[in-house]
């Protein structure tokens, strides 16, 4: 019996930033692969390169060297437009600071990826379907009662749930969470993790969660340890 195809393949990944006259080598030849529908946690101290790794995998940044393949597609070969489309359709992000748009309501925030994907005419045609999908996602994260509220009227945990609903909106194959509980107390953090896990399982997503909380990481199927830009085990 053959093993399932890897959802994410990273090989020899290098990334450095220029800070004044010095070059910071944030990632130094990172390689790993994550199976489809696997829930993987990446742990490491602050500055170990966790977020950078997530940004490279999520096509938010470009690597200096190495390859990142999502579902077998080498993202370095993609045009800017295709990278945008892949970010829209195949990747969902959850950030530590939620990054909700304050002008939009909870429902509108959740609908944002669908709106990015649709033209005005397309939106007129498919508005009902998208709304139903967003409502379903918000119900899934337990926010069906707060759809008309603005982010500033929500608690931290609720905001992160909205961010999860937004990340799941287009039912992407990959969910990338950057310290999703980092700004929450431990009880709320566990609830959020539970929501994240359940929702992603229901949809059948590959999840990469970056965290510095080892206890939280233990909830994942597998844990990758990152130290000074290198995987240690």
């Amino acid at each position: 019996m053959s093993s399932p195809a890897p959802g994410i393949e990273v090989h020899g990944l290098h990334k450095s930033y220029k800070l004044g006259r010095t070059h910071l080598h944030v990632l130094q030849g990172v390689s790993f692969s994550i199976q489809s529908k696997e829930f993987v946690a990446v742990v490491g101290a602050s500055g170990s390169g966790k977020s950078t790794l997530l940004h490279l995998v999520g096509l938010l940044d470009r690597m200096d060297k190495g390859t990142v393949k999502l579902d077998g597609v080498d993202v370095a070969t993609l045009s800017r437009g295709k990278r945008n489309r892949m970010r829209c359709h195949d990747v969902g992000f959850v950030f530590q600071f939620y990054h909700l748009l304050p002008e939009l309501s909870v429902l509108e925030n959740a609908l944002l990826p669908a709106k990015v994907d649709e033209s005005v005419l397309g939106w007129i045609r498919h508005r009902g379907e998208h709304r139903a999908a967003a409502i379903e996602m918000l119900e899934r994260v337990g926010l069906s009662e707060r759809m008309k509220h603005r982010p500033k009227e929500l608690s931290g945990g609720e905001r992160q749930r909205v961010a999860i609903a937004r990340a799941l909106m287009n039912r992407p194959k990959f969910l990338l969470a950057d310290e999703p509980t980092g700004n929450l107390d431990s009880r709320t953090g566990r609830q959020i993790l539970q929501v994240l896990r359940t929702a992603s399982q229901d949809i059948g997503q590959t999840v990469v969660m970056v965290t510095h909380d080892v206890a939280l990481a233990a909830e994942a199927d597998r844990v990758l340890h990152l130290r000074d830009g290198k995987l240690t085990k």
């Binding site: 437009g81 829209c88 990054h99 002008e103 990015v116 397309g122």
Partner: protein
């Protein structure tokens, strides 16, 4: 779709946008008001000039004028198909007096042919007695004149009642007392005029009887009776309605003959039915200037005319062309020893020409004027005695060139100044958009994280700027249109309440401030404002688009 959503959200929720819209609205408002008023001013000059002189004017450089003008007109109408009509015109100066008063002032005396005049100008549109008649004459039917006079008396009476009603206890201010006195004086003259028309036939018969008695007394050599009858004749003559060749149409606005109430209502004091006396120096024929004898004639005012050009209306009197030719020595001159031998034909000082509307503007009109000039040149070659000095052919615009060019230069300068002011609106939009882009840096990161393209992100801010321009310009345009349409009531109100009068009728020639807004003016100003809005948002939009998503998400 996200571009539209976020653009609308930013418009509604960002207070800064309202300041930018206000800036755009003020600029559009100012631009629209200035351009409309100045364009309207130029248009009014065009309408007034065409209304007074037609589209093209043939004029003689000398007071001697142009002879054989009827033949010249026939030739022009035959050879230049673009010409719709032409009419001779004489303009000279005179002294106006009102018998029985000490009123006297210098005026311009215009000799015109009616109803022909209506074919080349809008003369008939400004008439009072013959309002609405296409064929005005110096001999309108008596019932019509009496009806108009009756209406005028009633109107003056209503004004008087309204002034008295404003102070029922009789406590009139000095200004109101002065107005009441002037209104009563006007009513007295209006009544006299009405009576003169009503009793015209009886007065004429009385006059003829006295004339017959004078003849009889003259034949009998009864000098005492003759003297008594001549005094009697002079009294009756003042009430006569003189024959059509001794009738005049007053410009409505000659100071002292009519006045305006504080509300702007025109009250005629000396008008239709009254007699006036014109004295002028006949300069139409070569005379010895050491021996010029002024000529004086009485005229019955039969109508008055408003051209809406205050500078014209305040000093012009129209009389029949042939009458003025005689008074000004421009009639046909025959040899002293042979009445059948014409030494010089009758002349006019100008010929006013109406051109077909489709050819009456710009280069087309200039072309027509050149064709007319060619006909005039040929005519003068064929008839060397027709004019003893040069004859000019000019379009209305060439005649009014200095004035029109000055106003157009003023308009250009205004647009330039307002354009510079409007650049401030562009800078305002730029600054506000830049602040918004900085404030929204994280949002830009989020949008890119969910797949928004650079162009899409830039589009949000370009649309935002365009929408600020559009909303601001619509508000400004609506306000500007409202202001321009109501500029005269607003101006009058300001003048009444704050003694702040910008539009001086004497200075600006016209009674009313131009209050028309041209649709294409609105369209190009609004379009410019929208483009300015987009231009102002261009750089912030590009900056937003070029933000790297990771940098944007990390932005503190």
């Amino acid at each position: 779709m996200y571009k539209l959503t976020l653009c609308l959200k930013y418009l509604v929720n960002r207070g800064l946008a309202y300041f930018a819209m206000l800036g755009v609205a003020v600029c559009v408002f100012l631009m629209l008001v200035c351009v409309s008023v100045l364009t309207g001013f130029v248009d009014k000059i065009e309408v007034a000039a065409k209304g007074l002189f037609g589209d093209v004017v043939i004029s003689s450089a000398s007071l001697g004028g142009v002879g054989q003008y009827d033949e010249l007109i026939r030739r022009i109408e035959k050879d230049v198909p673009a010409v719709e009509g032409a009419s001779p015109f004489i303009l000279t100066f005179g002294i106006l007096r009102v018998p029985g008063t000490d009123f006297r002032r210098t005026v311009q005396v215009a000799g015109i042919r009616l109803p022909e005049r209506a074919t080349v100008s809008d003369f008939e549109k400004g008439l009072f007695v013959q309002a609405g008649l296409d064929q005005p004459t110096f001999d309108p039917c008596q019932p019509l004149v009496m009806q108009r006079l009756r209406e005028d008396i009633l109107r003056t009476d209503d004004i008087l009642k309204a002034v008295n009603k404003a102070a029922p206890d009789g406590s009139l201010t000095p200004d109101q007392k002065g107005l009441v006195g002037r209104l009563r004086n006007a009513l007295y003259y209006q009544d006299q005029a009405y009576i003169a028309f009503r009793d015209a036939d009886a007065t004429r018969k009385q006059f003829e009887d006295i004339e017959a008695k004078i003849n009889a007394a003259d034949e009998a050599g009864d000098d005492d009776k003759l003297q008594q009858l001549e005094a009697e004749r002079a009294m009756v003559e003042r009430d006569l309605i003189l024959p059509p060749d001794r009738r005049a149409i007053l410009g409505l606005g000659i100071a002292g003959l009519s006045f305006r109430t504080p509300k702007g209502e025109v009250v005629r004091v000396i008008g239709p039915g009254q007699q006036i006396v014109l004295s002028l120096i006949p300069l139409g024929r070569n005379v010895s200037y050491t021996n010029i004898i002024p000529v004086t004639r009485s005229f019955t005012v039969i109508d008055d005319c408003s051209t809406d050009v205050a500078s014209i209306d305040s000093e012009i009197i129209y009389v029949p062309l042939e009458t003025l030719q005689q008074l000004n020595n421009m009639d046909a001159e025959v040899a002293a020893d042979d009445p059948n031998l014409m030494v010089q034909p009758a002349r006019c000082s100008q010929i006013h020409i109406k051109v077909k509307p489709e050819l009456s503007r710009g280069l087309a009109l200039k072309k027509v004027a050149r064709q007319i000039d060619a006909v005039v040149t040929t005519f003068l070659t064929d008839h060397p005695n027709a004019a003893r000095s040069s004859v000019d052919v000019e379009t209305w615009r060439e005649r009014q060139g200095r004035l029109v060019n000055a106003i157009e230069a003023q308009r250009t300068l205004m647009i330039l100044i307002l354009g510079i002011i409007s650049a401030v609106a562009v800078v305002l939009i730029f600054v506000i958009l830049y602040v918004v882009v900085v404030q929204k840096t994280r949002d830009i990161g989020v949008l890119k994280a969910v797949g928004a393209s650079n162009l899409g992100v830039a589009g949000i801010f370009l649309a935002y700027g365009g929408a600020i321009g559009m909303i601001g310009s619509i508000v400004g345009a609506v306000g500007g249109c409202f202001f321009v349409w109501n500029i005269n009531p607003i101006h009058d109100w300001m003048a009444r309440n704050f003694s702040f009068e910008v539009w001086n009728r004497e200075t600006f020639m016209f009674e009313k401030i131009p209050n028309a807004v041209e649709a294409d003016t609105v369209v190009w100003i609004v379009a410019l404002a929208i483009i300015a809005g987009i231009f102002g948002s261009l750089l912030p939009g590009i900056l937003a688009a070029r933000r790297q998503p990771v940098e944007a998400l990390r932005y503190e």
